[in-house]
Symmetry: C2
Subunit: 776 residues, 2 copies
């Protein structure tokens, strides 16, 4: 009887808890970090991580390689919990084991099985059971400190391993060092070897504090020409090739807690980061603070209505857009500048209270971010956008060029063209000016000149004379240098033309009308690679002739002349002058028919081609060059086709919320996530927001209500609210719209209206209103 | 008491069984299919498969993609059991489930968890438990028929699914068809869509027989523009996009057995294959016959001594070399020729009993096989070598060029140059002539001429004028056409020069002395890309000038001018005239020092660079261009250095027998396996055996005794036995050698000696005998 009562009580308690959870559902509960983790780039999955956190602590099921590494959903084993999942940067793997020490044998000897049924992953928290050892591992973090809680089985020896010299993520460590500071504290560093993209070493430093004294310290390293590593006992420090260390607790008193502060400047700075951000041992408090910080960030856009699945995808998309480009500078604004012959410690300028004015970030390139992050951040996260620009401009101040894909304090020339200027022009012209505008302007001019960033293409260090050719002949021919990858002339011409227009808009915004005229004129260079007889953008040879054997789609990684794509897609790369492109292609009807045909060809394949086969698609919504194509129907007086295709792409290509889909390719540090957010809310801008009169193009939102909280440090309004009427499945088409109560008949409205706050009301229907959106 | 007795009896029985297993240990028990399966190409893993079997039936833990697909060791789920794991070819996935039908929802809806502790995989047999359903699945096969045994839980509905229209391996199916033939039999086909490498559709047909009538048949397909597939009931056939079918057994009587005969020509031929090879239902008999067939094949080389780990790696290597290039022709010699505008059914010539004289195979390219398969097959499997040549020559007869990487009855121009001629010349000059020698000769001359196979480079269909440039100027300059991948001029020049020498040796063997002189002269073309001032092979531009900004190592996939590699490695690509290369590089001492330095630079990285970074290595034992480099010390009077580095590479790069190593990259359909076999037995030939006087170079074998059974259809001798004296760890160096009892002082001995049968006795020691191997 007593037993029965107890069970009833338990059920009641569970019901209560479940109710209260529903009532107070946090936005972090809408994020599903497992989406599309069946494959992964090293930097894709992060659980114990704050927004853009320097620490991104999570289980690595496979620890080697830049692709198909990190956390892979279908894997059976956890190899380690490592702290840094950046573009070309990794570090400080931790593992917990029981019994005899096998750390010297590497990840394969110490890995453990795990299952998803005993696993929780949320923004800011990860819990998983290491089945081979019976250890419950929990992870959380502050911005720069990883926080671990390991609950060991009572009966066994408890070990914590730091295999800091092991190959991890993008590659090898040159060497590593670990030392005992006192009976419960270690410190050290790992020197990452250069990669083909990050040309110099970069060092990650750490201080590791345990909540109780360890019984023993030891380590391992590789000596001489030995293949295997030697286990070292009775040492206080280990250093060298593949060095690592461990501590053992014979009788741990309760769970073993571990705080790991990291820094890219020094051990002392790692200690400062740890002490500033995490002076206590209250694990659960840090988990809750992580949830709160994420809730605040995610809450800048609140959505209502739609399906549960759509909301989960929305907040997972939004989470990705605020995650992957991790902070590189310390809590006091120090960071390591590795652009010169030796490392220089730089200091970010501070406010009156001594706090750094911004953070410097590591980041993959901003290739194509004009159609995702630049738009999203400028609407809801202007400070983020400003910090990213400040990061890139710091490189100009330190080393003469505004950066493209900064990593480990140095340039990586990832991808092509000047990827900063679309973001800088958009920020400036939208009123986000909390970066060094004058330095940004000077740097952008330099970036756009011969010898600037545009002459560095495709990971290579030396500059090539792309800009000289572009300026003298109006285009970049093929074959200026014969090396492959990301240096194809036709695509470069198109990028340079758009970037020239962005530069022109920045100049116009600043009142520099002479510069404006100059860059505006150059921005028409796309016409020089348009072959009117073929009806496509077409590569030109060194002698000016059109490339022979030309086809709009091709084979393999990229068609000749194009970057990870082909003529069928790059022909539409004129973001700044679609009306002119429409004329070149024969007017509205011909343009629409051509584009429509490409969509129909691509639809059976969910609008994507597999990574590595980019040359083969008529459309490719898994890669940057075609992310705006559905929105082009707006410009040829067929907004209803934009509405139709955007909805289908959102559903078929980006709709999955399982570990086996959702991005259908390379999510690329928030870019595809941000595009999903824009498609869901019904906002976009083909021009990327860089115009002196920036605006937003409307499609049909998938939610009943979207409330955007405006950042009052930048914008006068409080909220901009988008509501839909008759929002139900199948109602893909905009029937009418009202902006602040007044009828809106154009497919776009100004940024200047949005930032004042207000309402956009959109009425949806099952059949197109072909008259809406084409003006009066 | 009874219980105790029973347990004792059980233990005794187990002990007995274990003893008898040890006593009768089969070679199949030495094969570990799991080695290096943590990553996988689609064609890498095969369990239920005969030697080169048309059917390669095995569990797919991930079913999509050509890389990182098929069976991945760390995966938690099985998606299906599919029958075809070829280069660019896949087909007929089967899955077993219980309960409600979810087949229309695809692999993700029907997958099941599994664990390795309930799994057995051997050559010819795979057993695994589908934990989500409680189904024990067992697989075996004949050459052209997959044989499944599913033991379902007694209480539930049993389903067998054939999702034959699903995307699988390399890509999509254009359409599929499945029909009920009678109450226990289905048939149908899948039409594979073209890929960027296989340019036309290819069809795989099947007949599926169950051992008992099914209770129900149904299926699914995609209709109209629907995203999801529709479940179809009360049908007798399903066809169309993403079509598939299933059968349900409400009360299966014992295990459900399923035989699936396949063919690439027709349903009737699939039926013939099934009936000819598997007329009965005795599953265990087929498992045992598989083991026997493999034991016979593997037993052509018997090894004794060495460690258990070394023997397991040896037979796993050997197994891979006899596995991946699967049979394409039917049991009666029919095959589908897809080289022309429409499919033509061809018939392989037959012997007096009506049996086909050879089998036609699918195959990835033979790029670099001169240093592995060509040597191994010519020693122990001459009929295999002959069949592969017959396959390639069939394409000449059908469509005018000897093939390179035949797939689905059509050319795929995978990789570069004429990869057949090194194999053809080696076969002919070693006395293997059971192919159409005259056609092979004519075809090889054509292949070596303008418009021949060498002008097709890097997957592209159209011919390019590489040979015209090569013949007129003595080299292929860079930039004849600007497309990327596998068409780099300096590497092509080096390949063409070696292939010219092979052609010359073929001509000389046949007594065609005019041809011999012509091709011999062309074979010196490597000198035209050797830059004596740089000391490296160096790319030349269209105007004949040396490439500027040249460096021996570079970045990324390949350095300009080289194919998946760089100058540091391709400089040594003169297999046919190493003495001349040594002179070009300054003589024996300078050559040895240069090469030694490269080995020392590569040693810390296990002698490999990661796939995709081939340009960055000083050496790269995971990819074809450098597989002979350790053997070059033999040619500069330092055989002891060859012995030293071969042993280290064998141990450090190829020694692992876990799922996480063993090949350290792309095993490439038996090529790296065959190299491992050669390194273990101490045989090699830098010239690839194509000389009119072919020979074998000796290194220190890792075993006490190696017995090679000679094929008496080709060779007069019965066995060639290699024994070692003082073989123990650390004894890497040859002290002396005796061939058939007489001292052998050269580092090589003739093929003509080997094929007479005999003995090679090698005495090993811990320090080099620097005088051995450099002649008298």
């Amino acid at each position: 009887m007593l037993k029965k009562i107890f069970i009833l009580f338990l059920l009641a308690a569970l019901a209560l808890q479940s109710n209260s959870q529903t009532a107070n559902k946090r936005l972090v509960d809408e994020v599903n970090p497992f989406i599309d983790t069946h494959k992964s780039r090293w930097f894709f999955f992060s659980s114990a991580c704050r927004p853009f956190g320097m620490v991104s602590l999570s289980p690595d099921t496979w620890a080697l390689g830049s692709w198909n590494s990190g956390y892979l959903y279908d894997s059976s084993y956890i190899r380690c919990f490592s702290h840094v999942h950046c573009w070309e940067i990794s570090g400080i793997p931790v593992m917990a084991t029981t019994g005899a020490m096998k750390g010297q044998l590497g990840f394969e000897a110490v890995k453990s099985k795990f299952t998803h049924d005993k696993e929780i992953a949320k923004p800011g928290y990860h819990k998983v059971v290491l089945d081979d050892y019976g250890i419950t591992a929990e992870l959380t973090s502050t911005c720069r400190t990883g926080f671990h809680r390991y609950t060991f089985p009572a009966s066994d020896t408890a070990n914590i391993l730091l295999d800091i010299g092991a190959t991890l993520g993008q590659g090898r460590m040159d060497s590593a060092f670990i030392q005992v500071e006192n009976g419960s504290q270690l410190s050290g560093y790992s020197v990452m070897a250069p990669t083909s993209r990050r040309k110099k070493t970069a060092t990650v430093y750490f201080v590791a504090q345990f909540n109780q004294p360890f019984s023993k310290f030891g380590g391992w390293k590789k000596t001489g020409t030995a293949v295997t590593r030697t286990l070292l006992e009775n040492v206080q420090a280990v250093s060298g090739k593949e060095a690592g260390g461990y501590v053992t607790f014979y009788q741990p008193s309760g769970p073993v807690l571990l705080k790991v502060g990291i820094s890219f400047t020094s051990i002392e700075q790692a200690r400062l980061n740890l002490q500033s951000e995490l002076p206590h041992w209250n694990f659960d408090q840090v988990v809750n603070e992580s949830y709160s910080e994420w809730d605040t960030m995610l809450g800048k856009i609140k959505v209502e209505g739609g399906t549960e699945k759509q909301r989960i995808k929305f907040y997972t998309d939004l989470w990705h857009s605020l995650l992957g480009r991790h902070i590189y500078s310390d809590v006091n604004g120090q960071y390591a500048d590795n652009t010169g012959p030796a490392t220089v410690i730089r200091h970010i300028p501070t406010d009156q209270e001594g706090k750094p004015l911004f953070n410097v970030h590591n980041s993959d390139g901003f290739w194509g971010s004009e159609w995702n992050l630049n738009i999203l951040w400028s609407i809801a996260y202007p400070k983020v956008m400003s910090d990213m620009i400040s990061t890139l401009v710091e490189y100009y101040k330190n080393a003469g060029l505004i950066a493209r894909g900064p990593s480990g304090g140095n340039y990586t020339f990832v991808m092509s063209g000047d990827q900063a200027i679309p973001m800088i022009a958009a920020a400036y012209n939208k009123g986000i000016r909390s970066f060094d505008v004058e330095a940004a302007y000077k740097g952008s001019i330099k970036n756009a000149s011969p010898g600037g960033i545009r002459d560095h293409v495709g990971y290579e260090l030396p500059a090539h004379p792309y800009m000289q050719h572009y300026i003298s002949s109006g285009y970049v021919p093929e074959g200026i240098d014969g090396k492959q990858m990301h240096r194809e002339g036709c695509a470069l011409t198109l990028y340079f033309a758009y970037q020239d227009w962005c530069m022109a808009q920045f100049a116009k915004g600043k009142g520099m009308m002479h510069d404006y005229q100059y860059y505006l004129q150059r921005s028409f260079s796309y016409r020089n690679v348009f072959d009117s007889s073929a009806g496509w953008m077409r590569p030109r040879e060194l002698d000016g002739s059109w490339m022979k054997d030309f086809t709009p789609v091709s084979q393999g990684f990229n068609a000749r002349g194009f970057i990870e794509s082909n003529a069928a897609i790059y022909t539409y790369y004129v973001p700044h002058n679609i009306p002119d492109l429409i004329q070149l292609l024969g007017g509205n009807e011909k343009f629409a028919a051509k584009l429509q045909q490409q969509f129909e060809k691509a639809a059976p394949y969910k609008f994507v081609v597999p990574h590595g086969h980019h040359a083969e698609g008529w459309l490719d919504y898994e890669n940057q060059p075609s992310l705006h194509m559905a929105h082009l129907f707006n410009y040829c007086k067929k907004p209803w086709l934009t509405q139709y295709w955007v909805r289908r792409i959102k559903e078929e290509c980006y709709g999955d919320t399982t570990p086996y889909g959702g991005y259908n390719g390379d999510e690329d540090q928030g870019q595809v996530g941000a595009l999903g957010v824009l498609m869901a809310t019904g906002l976009f801008d083909v021009e990327g927001g860089a115009s002196v009169n920036p605006h937003y193009e409307i499609t049909s939102p998938i939610f009943d209500k979207v409330t955007i909280q405006l950042d009052q440090r930048y914008y006068p309004g409080k909220t901009f609210v988008i509501t839909t009427i008759n929002n139900k499945p199948g109602n893909n088409y905009i029937q009418s719209a009202r902006l602040n109560g007044k009828p809106l008949t154009d497919f776009r409205f100004p940024h200047s209206t949005l930032i004042k706050g207000g309402t956009l009301q959109i009425t949806l229907g099952a059949t197109p209103n072909e008259k809406w959106g084409i003006g009066k």
